[in-house]
């Protein structure tokens, strides 16, 4: 400590004070930007916005977007956040950052200067460079267009509420939200569209979709020559469809054009957040690694002082704390802790590899750490990132162990621990744990009865014999509301053997009310 305090003052040193001013934020930002660019972080331009705690709650509860359509569920989240915050049970998120170009990062007015610097480094350079670099975000999201799209969605939905009433819109959105996790194309990339194009296209879609439906549900008898061709009842859809919302948008018989557009809006937004759901560990780890690295660099240069550093380290330590499984505070694996540890570990493997590292990571041991980290950030998602980079050393540090819970056995059994025998097994298990395909039930559109009652059959292919939750029946009601006719949900074994079936009868075959 003595040695630290003796350093000569840096000419651009930030003052040791906790109150921020606009000038000081600008100054801190300039320094952070300089260091971040020196490390080779490639970002969208930054837009830093100072907001109040209340505005932070607003943003926090409407899917973290600067604009969003209105819905009661956002109000519900707001109320519970507000309650927690007002009673001091929880702090607010320090920051929210939006994957847009320019990248918008919110700084809360209550934060101290140190926290503002931490947030700038974390969000404006960490998350921002992740959004710009990671392949999932590059493929699935369009930072240029998202804010415009949200504006379009908000206006369109408000217009629908005026024309069709708040209740009708609310019910429909409820139903869409219930299956929004099943509104993702995993293999098709969405086209980039501007707001104007989006609006023009929307009109075309209305007309086109309606015309397609007539073909599918047509009741007029076919001409004899057509009849001959359509002899064998064609399966519909020809292939199972994993994107439930897309299927409904396209084929639900009774939806009105505006209702299809609403389904589409929920689907588009859901798709936008799909990469975030798959890169939580990486994204937070990356941002945390960079705020830590950048601020340490600034400290080494003397731009920030001891008091600043102490406050920063306190916050940082809180963020990356991982309570052990037997702790009352244990709530699963902390993505900040795991992600930060892995990023730091990769740098270590590059800079100071041990014999074990050379054996496990021959490609990266001793390589340039900046390039290696950039490569890891760009080309993986949580699942593959863990499978690729989790080192035995970290497995030991975290004391990871795998527990097998098979309901056919009377007891749980420890299937692997942090030892020589267990490293690969634990690593693979942990990676699988982040596989969205395992986490969420695999449910796809299986078939539609095009000849008779128009019933829709969904198929749940069981994974590890795991049953569906109690809410499944409620969700099915929502699907039936959208589809307009009966809906069945078959649960089958991986071999395709029917295990059980859920059914939701659409009693009133009227239009969606």
């Amino acid at each position: 400590m003595n040695e630290m305090t003796k350093r000569p003052p840096h000419p651009r040193a930030l003052p040791e004070q906790s109150e921020w001013t606009f000038e000081l934020i600008e100054q801190a930002h300039e320094e952070i930007k300089r260091v971040a660019q020196g490390f080779g972080l490639d970002t969208y331009p930054n837009q830093l916005e100072i907001i109040t705690a209340e505005q932070m709650m607003d943003a926090y509860t409407s899917v973290g977007m600067p604009v969003s359509y209105n819905h009661w569920s956002f109000g519900k989240h707001f109320l519970s956040t507000e309650k927690g915050y007002k009673r001091g049970q929880m702090g607010l998120a320090y920051e929210i950052v939006i994957n847009s170009n320019p990248c918008i990062a919110y700084l809360m007015e209550e934060n101290s200067l140190t926290m503002q610097a931490l947030v700038i480094a974390h969000a404006a350079y960490g998350h921002n460079s992740f959004f710009k670099g990671n392949y999932l975000f590059r493929t699935w999201t369009d930072a240029e267009a998202i804010v415009d799209y949200m504006v379009f969605a908000k206006n369109y939905i408000a217009e629908c509420e005026q024309r069709h009433g708040i209740d009708a819109v609310e019910l429909l959105i409820d139903s869409c939200h219930a299956i929004q996790n099943y509104g993702v194309d995993r293999y098709k990339r969405p086209a980039k569209l501007s707001l104007a194009q989006e609006q023009a296209r929307q009109k075309e879609r209305e007309a086109y979709l309606q015309s397609q439906l007539n073909e599918l549900w047509r009741t007029l008898p076919k001409r004899p020559e057509e009849e001959a061709v359509a002899q064998a009842p064609a399966r519909f859809p020809p292939e199972p469809e994993e994107n439930l919302l897309y299927f409904i948008e396209k084929y639900a018989p009774l939806l009105e054009p505006w209702q299809r557009e609403l389904v589409r809006i929920v689907r588009k937004i859901s798709q936008y957040f799909y990469p975030q759901r798959q890169t939580q560990v990486m994204n937070e780890g990356w941002a945390t690694f960079w705020h830590y690295t950048i601020l340490n660099q600034l400290y080494d240069e003397g731009v920030i002082g001891n008091g600043f550093m102490m406050e920063f380290l306190k916050s940082h330590t809180n963020v990356v704390y991982q309570p052990p499984v037997h702790s009352p505070y244990y709530n699963g694996i902390n993505p900040y802790a795991l992600g930060f540890a892995m990023m730091t570990d990769i740098r270590r493997i590059c800079e100071n590899p041990t014999a074990e590292d050379r054996e496990w990571f021959p490609d990266i041991a001793g390589s340039d750490w900046k390039q290696t980290l950039q490569f890891a950030m760009r080309n993986f998602k949580d699942e593959s990132f863990i499978a690729q980079y989790l080192s035995p050393r970290l497995i030991r540090e975290f004391h990871f162990f795998a527990v097998l819970d098979d309901d056919r056995n009377e007891k749980l059994s420890v299937s692997a621990i942090h030892d020589e025998m267990g490293y690969r097994y634990v690593r693979q298990q942990l990676a699988d744990q982040y596989n969205l395909g395992n986490r969420e039930p695999n449910i796809q559109v299986w078939s539609v009865n095009t000849r008779d009652d128009r019933a829709l059959t969904l198929r749940h292919t069981q994974f590890n014999r795991r049953p569906l939750n109690q809410q499944a029946h409620e969700v099915l009601k929502h699907v039936a509301r959208l589809w307009g006719f009966d809906v069945h949900l078959d649960t089958v074994s991986p071999e395709g053997k029917l295990i059980s079936t859920l059914e939701c009868k659409r009693e009133k075959r009227g239009r969606l009310a």
Binding site: F22, P45, N46, Q47, E49, I50, I51, T52, Q55, A59, T61, S62, N70, H71, W72, S73, F74, G75, K76, F78, L79, E82, K83, E170, H177, N181, Q322, V325, H326, S327, Y330, I333, H399, F401, A402, V403, L404, D405, D406, D407, K411, L412, S413, V414, S415, A416, I417, H418, D419, D432, R439, F463, R465, R466, P467, L468, N469, Q470, Q471, V475
Partner: protein
Amino acid sequence: MSYLIDRRLQGKNKSAVNRERFLRRYKGQIKDAVGRAIKGRSITDIENGEKVSIPVKDVNEPSFGHAHGGVWEVVNPGNQEYQKGDQIARPKGGGGSGRGKAGNSDQTSEDDFIFELSREEFMNYFFEDLELPNLVKTQLTATTDFKSQRAGYTVSGTPSNIHVLRSLRGALGRRIAVGGPSRKALAEAELELETLLLADVPLDDFRVVELKKKIHHLHTRLLAIPYIDPFDLRYSNRIKIPKPMTQAVMFCIMDVSGSMDEGRKDTAKRFFILLYLFLKRVYDKIEVVFIRHHTAAAEVDEHEFFHSRESGGTVVSSALNLLNKVIDERYGAGQWNSYVAQASDGDNWDNDSVLCRQLLVNTIMPKVQYYTYVEITDGPPQNLWEQYAQVPDLHQHFAMQKIVTPADIYPVFRELFKKQPK
């Protein structure tokens, strides 16, 4: 390029719409919760916001997920003692150590969804229940003390209020002002005449004659200015200003005889709450005194007032006697504005009702600002009602109404506190 933008002054309350949507959707449940909250909270505390809870199953947004069962293999941090192959007893009730929580979405706790209603929101629900259109429109008309205070002078008033000095001073001023030009002309004429006379001009010279005529004329004019004119009169002005009575006491008197069941007590409570809110808008400081009675009366705290199960026959006069005693002892006239709200099902011991009327008319009414009596009953009026009905003839600040259902509370309240002709 980067920007630093101050957004603090714009876009506040973006969630207000969503919040309102939420309240709208759960109106029924929230109303129930507010109803429960009113029962559980004290009268003086009613104006704060309220923590409201509604069952979580109602606000749950369902989604597909896995439940327990089948095979789960979960990696956890923090192994302390386990070795590969160790068998662990299944934790009871799911969750806990060794058990993965990921994906077990059915395991969300079943606590109610709790949130805060703001004061305004709470009041809206509260009053909605009472079918309250607009509380602010009603105005307190009960007698308020005024004190008379001098406030300068006015030009009109009664002769007894004429302010002599001020009036004469005004008259003098007027005379000076009005006589000024004449007086000046007179002085000039007199000077001229004197000059002529000194120059031995004969007395019959036409100039002397003219001047003398003019002087006489001017004298006459000056004398013609009235000594006092109605215009000069000034009256002392006294205005009445309300005496700053910033404190009030509200007496809640409730009959707790056997026939006052929970429902009736609840109705009474709502009535008292309304009265309290109403007075709260007029007075800075307000105290509440609770008096309960069956055959005997006692001053109690709020909890006992509404929840004590003790009961018996009914002697209303016991409460009135106690009321009188408490006013005399602690809320002496002149210091406090006293309001009384009495709630009863109207059933009283026969001979006592007459006594009650006499007590009211002779002793209590002169000491209080306003006295309201509500009879919570669906039956015909009882003897107490009949006796009380004679009070308004003698004391206008007495009012009584009947409440049958909770929905009557607000109309009755309005009726009791409506603006009365002076």
